[in-house]
Structure formats: C-alpha cells, structure tokens
Symmetry: C2
Subunit: 762 residues, 2 copies
Amino acid sequence: MAVGKSVKRVDAVAKVTGRARYTDDFFIPGTLVAKYLRSTIAHGRVTKIDTGKAEQLPGVEAVFTYADVPQNKFATAGHPYSLDSAHKDVEDRLLLTQNVRYWGDEIAVVVAENKIVLQESLRLIDVVYEEYEPLVTAEAALAEGVREIHAGSRNLIGESHYAVGGNIEDALANADVVLEGRYQTQMCQHCHIENHIAYAYMDDLEHIVVVSSTQIPHIARRIVGQALGLPWGRIRVIKPYIGGGFGNKQDVILEPMVAFLTLKLGGRPVKIDLSREECMIGTRVRHPFDVKIRAGVNTDGTLVALDVDAVSNTGAYASHGHSVAGAAGAKFRSLYPRSAIKYHARTVYTNTPAAGAMRAYGAPQMIFALDCIIEEAARKIGMDPVEFRLKNVARQGDADPLSGERFKSCAIIECLQKGKELIGWDEKRAAWPKEQTGPLRRGLGVACFSYASGTYPVCMEVAGARIILNQDGSLHIQVGATEIGQGLDTIVAQMAAETIGIPFEQVHVVSAQDTDVAPFDTGAYASRQAYVASNAVFRAARELKAKILEHAGRMTGILGGELDIVYGNLVHRDDPTRIVLTLRELALDAYYDKERGGQLTADVSHKTTTNAPTFGCTFVEVEVDVPLCKVNVREIYNVHDSGVILHPVMAKGQVHGGVAMGVAAALYEEMLIDQNTGYIYNNNFLDYKIPTTVDVPDIGCEFVETYEPTSGYGNKALGEPPIISPPPAVRNAIWDATGVKINELPMTPHRLYRYFKKAGLV
Amino acid sequence: MAVGKSVKRVDAVAKVTGRARYTDDFFIPGTLVAKYLRSTIAHGRVTKIDTGKAEQLPGVEAVFTYADVPQNKFATAGHPYSLDSAHKDVEDRLLLTQNVRYWGDEIAVVVAENKIVLQESLRLIDVVYEEYEPLVTAEAALAEGVREIHAGSRNLIGESHYAVGGNIEDALANADVVLEGRYQTQMCQHCHIENHIAYAYMDDLEHIVVVSSTQIPHIARRIVGQALGLPWGRIRVIKPYIGGGFGNKQDVILEPMVAFLTLKLGGRPVKIDLSREECMIGTRVRHPFDVKIRAGVNTDGTLVALDVDAVSNTGAYASHGHSVAGAAGAKFRSLYPRSAIKYHARTVYTNTPAAGAMRAYGAPQMIFALDCIIEEAARKIGMDPVEFRLKNVARQGDADPLSGERFKSCAIIECLQKGKELIGWDEKRAAWPKEQTGPLRRGLGVACFSYASGTYPVCMEVAGARIILNQDGSLHIQVGATEIGQGLDTIVAQMAAETIGIPFEQVHVVSAQDTDVAPFDTGAYASRQAYVASNAVFRAARELKAKILEHAGRMTGILGGELDIVYGNLVHRDDPTRIVLTLRELALDAYYDKERGGQLTADVSHKTTTNAPTFGCTFVEVEVDVPLCKVNVREIYNVHDSGVILHPVMAKGQVHGGVAMGVAAALYEEMLIDQNTGYIYNNNFLDYKIPTTVDVPDIGCEFVETYEPTSGYGNKALGEPPIISPPPAVRNAIWDATGVKINELPMTPHRLYRYFKKAGLV
C-alpha cells in the first residue's frame, strides 16, 4: 500500500523550512578552520617552501606541508574494498604533494582560528617551483617522450577490452554499410549546491570522528584509516543531510585531511569548508571522452557491429581511475545485445583537475558517441531513426551478451513507442518541410540508453537494514544507504511499511549514517541503493514481522501463522476485519511485560548478486536560431523503464533533474582550461554556465512500468539514467533541423558558429 | 581473560585529557537559552503573573507560564513503564505550575538569546501569590486538618506493608529482650559535578531531539512523549558523557521542558543549563526517613523479630514516590532472613524540594536505623557486636524470606570476618581501656547491609546489546546501559572480548546512547547494569561468535564446531596453536567477498528474571574530640561480596566513592530548611558541606569474591552498596568511644554538642 504511492517525503518539511541540518549546521566550540595552499602551476615540483612567516601570524595554529604528512599512498575512489589485488583502486595520492600535477594541487595546509587569518596566512607562504610542461590533453599525455605525471605510469592508468557477438572485423566486413565517427565530450563539474565540507575531532584516544558531506560514509571510514595508517575501527564517519553530490561526494576528498589535522592537534576539532572556486577545481570533474566508433549496418536496418575505441582523460589523479571507462563500455551492451561489439578503452593522466564519478559514470559520454553513430546509420540507410532503434534495441528474452544473464524486465521498445507518441514524431515529420530554410529551423531528435542497477559483478554489492519496533508501536528504520537528496529515506520507509503492514507515517527513518552503528552499505552511487537496499529492507521487515507475530502468539495463544498485520493492527489472516491487538498494545507488552518479550528488532546485511539493466530514451524538439547559433529546446520527453515506480513524484523529480543536467551538458556546461598552462578559467558560477530555471525547458516524463523480480519491490535503477540520453537527442535534433552534425559537446553558440560557418549556414 | 583484569578504561585518556565531550560541549549555532522563574514562597498559589515587561526586553524570545503548558500530568521517575496500572508512577506534575509546592517551584520560563538577557528578564516578571502555611516536615503534613499539597492526596503518597517469618507480636512477646528506637536521617543532595543540562531541537516535523545529561535516555524518551502528548517514536534522546548522576539523573527533569520549548519555537535549539543553586533545590534530594523499630533478641544472640515503621518525606512532588520506602524495606530482608520481620512504610508530601532516587535508594536510611538497633541489641545482651551480626546474618542456603528465592552466592559472614581482621577488632578491644576518658576517645564500629542487583520482580528488567564485527576485525559494541562515570563501557567491552575471544583493546564501545538506534535498556540505576546487561552482552557475543565461526567454515571448509577464536585468531578447537585465519582476514572476506557473507552483527534484547542479593560491611575506627564535638575517622574498611569482581581497580573506585559519600552523610551533609518558611539556607557549595579530599579518610577496600550463577560473568551489584553501611558504623564507633548514642544524621559538631551536653560530656 505504501510502495508506489507519492507519500510525503519524510524530510519534506525539514527541507522546505530549513530545519534540516547539514554538516556546517553542527558546531563544536573551539573548532579550528583549515585551508589548502594550492599550486599556481599545473605541472612541476616544489623545490622550496617557506612557511615561517605564516606560522608567526597570530591566530595560526599550525602549518603542514607535503613534508609532514604520512607517506601512505592511498586511493580516493568510493568503491568497495576488493579482495582481488588486480581490482584495487590506484593508490597515487598523499595527503599533500611535492609533485604538482594540476593547477590548484594541494601542497600545504594551514590551520587557524578563523577564516580571515587563514586567508592572510596563505599569502605569507613562499613557494619555489621547478616547472614542467603541462600535459592538458590525453593526446599530449600519451605522446612519445613526455614527462610522466606519475612516475612509472607512462601516463596510462588502465586499459581494457572486451568483445562479444563474434569477430568484429568479420561482422564489419559482412555489413552492408560501415560508418566511422569520432566524438568528444567535455570536462564538466557536478555543481552541487553544498560544497565539500568536513570536520573531525577526537572523541578519545581510540576514535577519530569525521563529520562530512559524503555519499559514502562507510567507504570514507576505510580510506581515512588507510591514508593515516590507522586501524579502520578507530575511525568514525558521520553523514548528516547533504546538499547534493552527483558522484563528486563518492570520492574521499577532505576526510583524510581533517582526520590527520585533528590527530596532529591533540583531538581539537578542525574543519575544512571548500569555497566554490576550490570545489570546482580541487574536487572531481567528469572525464572528457574521445571516442572513435565504427558501426556496421545492413540495409534492412539491422545493426550488426559496433567497434568502440575510447580514451578517457582522468586528469591529475586516478580517483575512480579506469572504472569509468570500463563502466561506460559495459553499460550500453544491454541496449544493442544482438550486435557484435568490440570495446577498447584507455584512461590517461593529464595535468587537469582529477576526474571521478559523475552522474551516470561514463554512460553519458559513451551514449553520446554511440547515439551519434546510430543516428548516422539510420539516416545512411534511409530508415526512420525511431524505427531503426526499435529494430535493434533489447527485447524481452535478450541477455547481456557478455554474462549471458537474461533480462527479466525490458521495455525499451515500449519506451520508444511512448516517446514517439508524446512528441508527435510521425505527425511533425509529415507536416514539416523536408529541408528547412530561414533563420529559425525545427528538428526532432531521439536517443536511447541502457544502464545498470548497481555494480555487480564488477564490484561487491551489500546493503544493511535494521528495523526496531518502538515502544509506541511505530518503527525506526536504520539503513546504511545514504539519503543525498534523492529520497532514499522515504523509499526505505515505504518499503518497511509495505512489508510489515503499518501506515507509512508510523515509520521513522534514521537519516544520518554513523559508521559505528549504521548497517554497512557502500553508499549512494551507481543508481544502486533503491535496488540493492530493497533486498535488505525486505528481509529485515519480514524478520521483524515474524518476531511480532510470534510475540502476538505468546500474548494471545493464537498461532503466529494465523495472524497478519494490516495497517498497524494484528488481525486474523483469514479475516482481516477481526482485530486481535493493535501494534502499540503489542509493543508495550513486548517491552514491559516482566517475563516475555524484549525490544523486537531485525538487523540484516544482504549481498545482492544480480544486476538488472534499466532502459530509457529521450525525444526532443528543438528550434535552432541559425544566425544566433542558439538552440531552443521546445519539447523534451524522457521515458523510462525502471521497473516498478516506487514513488511517482520523486521519480519524476529524478527525471526532471537528470534531464536538466543533460540539457546543460548538451548546450551549456564546460570547464575551460588553458591548453598551454593548464590554468582553469571558469572556476565559479559567473563564468561556468549552468542553465537557470529560465534556460531549462519544460520537461515531460513518463514511465513504462515493468516488474523486476530480482528486487524486493520490482524496481530498478533510476537515479542517474535521466541524464544520459538528452545530449545525443539534442544533437540529433540539431542535425535534423540544420543538416549539421555536431560531434562534440557542449553545443554552445560559440561551437555551433564554427560548425555552421563551415557548413555555409552563417 | 579480559574479565577480572584491571584493563585501561576505554574512556581513561578522554577523561583525563578533557577530550571527553559532555552535553555542553556540543553546540548548534543559534541555540537559545532558557531559565525558570522560581517561586519565592514554599506553599501557595499564583493569583497573578505579569510577563509583559519581560517579553518587551530585547533579546527575549518568549515567555511561557503555567497557563501556556500542556495539561497532561506526568511522572518524572526513571522507572520502566508498567502494564499494571496500580504500579504506575504518580502523575502529579505539569511542565509549569500555578500551585507552588516548594521554595523554588517552576512557575514560568523565559527563552532568550543569552544568559544576561535571561537573568534580567526574570526580574521583570511580576508575580502575586496567595500564601499558605508551609508544611515542612512529614509530621506537619500528616497532621489533621492541614491543607493538601496535592488535591485529594491527604498528603500521603503511598503506604505499604509486608510481614515474613511469622506473627511479629508473637515473636516480640517470645523474645528475651525487646528494644525500641527511633532514628532519623537527613535530606541531602547528590552533588554531582555536572549540573542538570539539556537542550532540544527539531530535526524535522516528526522528531524532537533532546540531548541531555541523563542516566536514563530511553525512559526520558517515553516521559517527554507523555508530558507533551506526542507519540514516543517522535522523541529522540541522546546521552553524551555525563558528569555524575547518583540517581539525580534517574529523573526526567529538564527534558520535557526543552522539548516543549523547541516545539513552541519552530524547532529552534533551546538549552537549559541549571546553576548549582537551582540544581540543589530544583532537581531531587534524598528522602529524609523517620524510622521506628522494635527488635526482639534472645540472650543467646538470636535476632528473632524486627518491627519497622518508616515515614519517608518525598517533598513537593512524587518523583520516585513510595518506591524508595518500598525498596528500603525490601533490601534488608536478605541480611537477616531468619528473623520475623514486619515492615510498614508511608511516604508523605511536604513543602520541601522533591526527593527522588539517590545512591542506594532508601537503603542507607533504613540500614542506619536497623544497624543502630542491632548494635543496641548486641550491647544489651553483652555480646560482641561482630559476633552478634555473624550469628544472625544470611548464610549460604538461606533464601529471601518473602519470595523464597534461595541465595546462590552469599558471603557476608566472610566479609565480616575479613573486616574484623583488617581493622584489628579483637586486638584493639583487648588493648583499649573499657571506659575511655579524656578529650580524645577512640571507638570501633561495624555495620552491614544487603542490597539487590536490579529491581526484578518489582519492575521489569531488560537490557540490549548489539555487537558488530568491523571491517578490520575489531568489534563495536553498542548497549542501552549507560556509562555515567562508573565504567560500564569498559565492563561491557571486557565481557564481549572475553566471550568472543579477542583482545580487549580491539573492542570499541559506542558510549553515547541515541534512543533511535541504541538497544533498549532502562538505564543506570539500582546497581543493575553490569548484572542485567551481562546477560544481553553474553548472548550477543555468543551469537556473533557463532556467525563468525560459521563464516570461517564457509571460507575454509572446516566445520564451525571444530574452530574457536583465541585472542583474535580463528584456531583449531583441539589445538589452539594452529591458527587457521586472523579475524581481520575473516572480516575482510565477510564484508568484501562478492557472494558470501555480509556485515556480521548480533542484536540481542534480554529480560532478566533473577535478582541476586549482594552483601557487605563497614568497619571503622574513630577518634572523637569531645570538647570540639568533632569526629576523626582514623581507619575505615568496606568489605563486599559482589560476586566476581569484573575490574578490580574500578571496583575499588566505586567503593572509595561510596564510602566517601557515606562518611559525608554520617558527618557532614544536610540540606538546611527553615521550618517556618520552607526556605533553603544552603543551596550552594559554600554553605552545604561536602567533605574535601582532606576531610575524607584513607579508605580500605576488600572483596570476598563469590560466583553468582545468574549473571553471565558471575558478578552482582556494587555501584550503590558502598554508601550504605558507613553512617551506622561511624555512629556505632562514636557510641563505642563516648557512650553516647546518636540516633540522627548527620553527626555534625553542632548536633554532637547537643548530645554531649545532655550526656554531661561537655
């Protein structure tokens, strides 16, 4: 009854009234503040650093440089630890570095009483660099004879291959038509409202407490332990409400440093609160991809071969390393599972900000390239682009071509059909002139994607849930999965209410994770939580329900099997109108009877060993103002197969947000880096262009509901997917309107002008 | 291996270095402060209250009076809720009162930005009273025709009787000698270092968070819900480290008010931080007892009858009500289980500060009276006081005369023998002159007690423990039982280490209780925790160990039953030197293997339905300076049978603290109240005399270890007992030295002068 309804979010009032408390809303008297000294070159080595004047400044508590930090190299990626050493993350960082690898690299840190002193003290540190030539692009970094950004790396961080559906060269040779293309995507940033912030203090000799705006508290705990060389059990991470993450808080960025500082300063609380400027360059960005594809198609519209070669630019440090390029290759397989596919990818170090996880983790880059060439193929053989996709996308009964795992739910065909209807595809194409002229031209575009519901079998998938029957008959649910604005807290409350049989309003959620007591879960990423946590919540709810029924049996003499719980009442299973007890009466007895009962709880940890593919598509109509080189998105629809929709309003919210970010990636956002110096021009919201509410089009959103049997409640991934297909759909629509194919992002007026000029349109 | 050793307290460094954080060390920006307006009369009614001027004062946020608070009467006693309506606590309070019942009663509360404004604002409130005659003593309150302090109560809050061992009048009639006496004990205060403090805020519409220095977070949660008429699940109570309680924080005093204030003020954080002066009168005190006893003895030294009639003065509000007098009567039964006993007690309202729980909960008052008459009996029949006690105290094989429950461990005889040796009883009595003269006179005194290990079967006894195997192979243990300085956190870590088989240092304790996630436990009182929690910890540790062995079996193929855990290693049960795996290796596998395992935890709630009697005695040598009427305690020894001693150093710490408080009650402490007006003269540490380190004698402490099989680790109560027997032992020693029997407490020079004058000594 609770699942599938748009119940009121558990944090709705808190968020709307400003009552919800974030990391910076908690404060310990005497908290010190810290700030990094960042390099003013992109590539080089510090040969001398003089902190003497800064240390003398009244109000400065301490200055630490690269010479003062532990020499344990660590990885910051928010992945589960792996028992397989080949699968471990790349450990290429120290807390501070002498070797500068991007403009803004952390070479020292100052701790002071307040921010004014802090700002002043940074100016007093003298640094002398030995400068090297910055390697800003992947191509430059891979060139022969250039300096290694990390010693021994040859600037190549990882490389991977796979091939399915037979020999790719044979498939291409047998294809009626072969197309080739090269597609490039930009570096962009997550731009969450709340910048990275964390503080730490020592509670006693044994425990370092880190309070942080993180998506991954349990992983942060491990990484802080690794970075500092301390037993992981001594680290405690607490995650309050967080103001957005989008993957940028799936990296452990500030936590090891604040933990280090409190350790050095006798347990005093120390906080680092990044400014927007620091956050833009000093956290993570999206990997720019450079993708070459060859596609083979037959004239009947069958896609027979996809040969993909991708280069991913990870910037100065590995962070998620080659995983993003690996995932990008894995996630589209389910979309065209009957083609021969060959995938090759490399990830390269450059002297640019470190790239990490960002919403949809490589898929937007790959789907942009893929859907460009799919569009090319359809148009080449003269087939309607929607029809071409309908013919080739996954159908019920298909399987992942690599694992052979058959899809248990798959409705991408229905999604495409619904999207086509929504936008009036056939009507508009029939009504519009074949070739448009004049300054304002309209076009239609489509793109589609597949994605995954978690990371299994690449990574381990675990979730935990603990449910407590309260004294008043209400429930408290505690999960390791993190609320990061997406509504996870509400979803798990719905699930528990549904399975136990009590009103949704009587489920209280412990929102903050505290790694000392929160059930273990790796956190918010990979669109995994509602899918993976569902199994833990389901099992915990079933277990608690069984305990409740057993206690009811002890109270009443009626066998537990003859009872059920409906809307908070214990009733006869065969006649739910016959109420035996209220849950409140039962709870009071379980707690307070002198002999029987006790606190009834269930504490479950569950590993998920399935991974349901999720599908969807975007349909868009644009109007291109040719002289102004400006694109106006007139209509846009995203249609998703995400299994059962757990909460329609929040699901729409995810889609609206994702499509807005997708349109932004298509038309607006890009980190601008000087190709010679590595300097970043637009590390702020004045110069980095995020669409505002007036720029974002009205967004249409529909679901084709399926039932995914590997999840406790029939659902599958929806968090990241909405961002994936808008950019290629917009690109295809611009092509439709103007006849100009743009193979790079973002499609700003600046870039369009170049293409239109070349095409003779302006 | 861990239990029984004086391991380093888990909070030792935190406490010694000042790193441990208490309620006032946490701070939310924008916290408002609140203060009560207290009555300036002891008995009356507010006829007019004008808060207008205070409300106008800049910085004042709100003023609430008795007219503004919910009209739900509630009880503040830290007892478990009861399903038996006859056993429920007396609900006689509102958050603020129009009817003034003691000097300092809470009639209004002001909320302001800071304490300066607060102090000023209180002066601006005009109050007009209708005054009634204060009823300061129990006798006055019980007199005919006086005004009822609570309407309908006849100033009598409860009355109870029991009789065991046959008809008391027959027993007295058959006794060789019958003695009578009347004994009075004083009102005193707990004097914990940290005054009462609490703050509350609203996290979202559903949850009011109260952070409080409390012994009983889970009970506080319920009572806040009751006082405010809110579902209990909406209340969340957090207990950080607390700076002492001694029973005064087993009452829910500030929590409902701060919760009410944040509710009224839109969720803003509001704090109440009582001053010492407020804490002395406005929290709880120890019940003054007025006890009449008749004792029957035979000339062979057999105690045959005890007829006890007690009046307990509970002051203005019920708080723990009649429970203290009831417990006082129940707890000495086990000491003289072969005598006929008749017990009658009444608890009376008066216009004095409310009395509640204080260390040993009625036993010090009752044992003072009892041991005075026991001494009288021994001396009357010319028997050595120790011999007399040895003849009559409980022996192995005796049973509680009321329940018939046989004692499973009992070594009071051995305790008395050891104490006698320690002080050199026989040698000194032989060496000293029969009658002492001169200004300085020495005397020996003895007294003994029995006590209980919890509250069952009067109340429900429950404890919870959750143990988590961490990623690094260490453990986290979370209990509902509260650390209030006594060392509970260390004890549960020892227990878990012992049962699971890992080094003590690898057990981390979640010290703070957060009622949303902490296992349910009613809290720190009744010397219950180490006894009651032991069973929950034992069960949880066994359950987790079984899960660990099962996982080891899955990893190695060796059956779990063939393995054991020794000092953090999984070993062959039959050959512990053969290490199969480390616990760290196992933990990594359980967490990170992609298919098997998960987070291994155990979450246990356990009801204890036993209650082990605990025993002990005090031996003291005093030197009385007769002209100065001053008593110098030269030697004092407490000897305890508390079962297995879990941590010798902490156990001694409990005894040292308890004996110091006992000596203080004997010689120093007393709340001085004007008998006409109810005004309290000494609400501060300048006027209320606590002994300082120079006043406290060197304390000797020994244990006679027994094994109590109803506890998981053989232990029984020790927290409160050390305070019980010092006062009568000192009193008996003064009698021994001077021939003067003092039948009231405290035995200050002021009071001694009165007695010595009457006896012609001065």
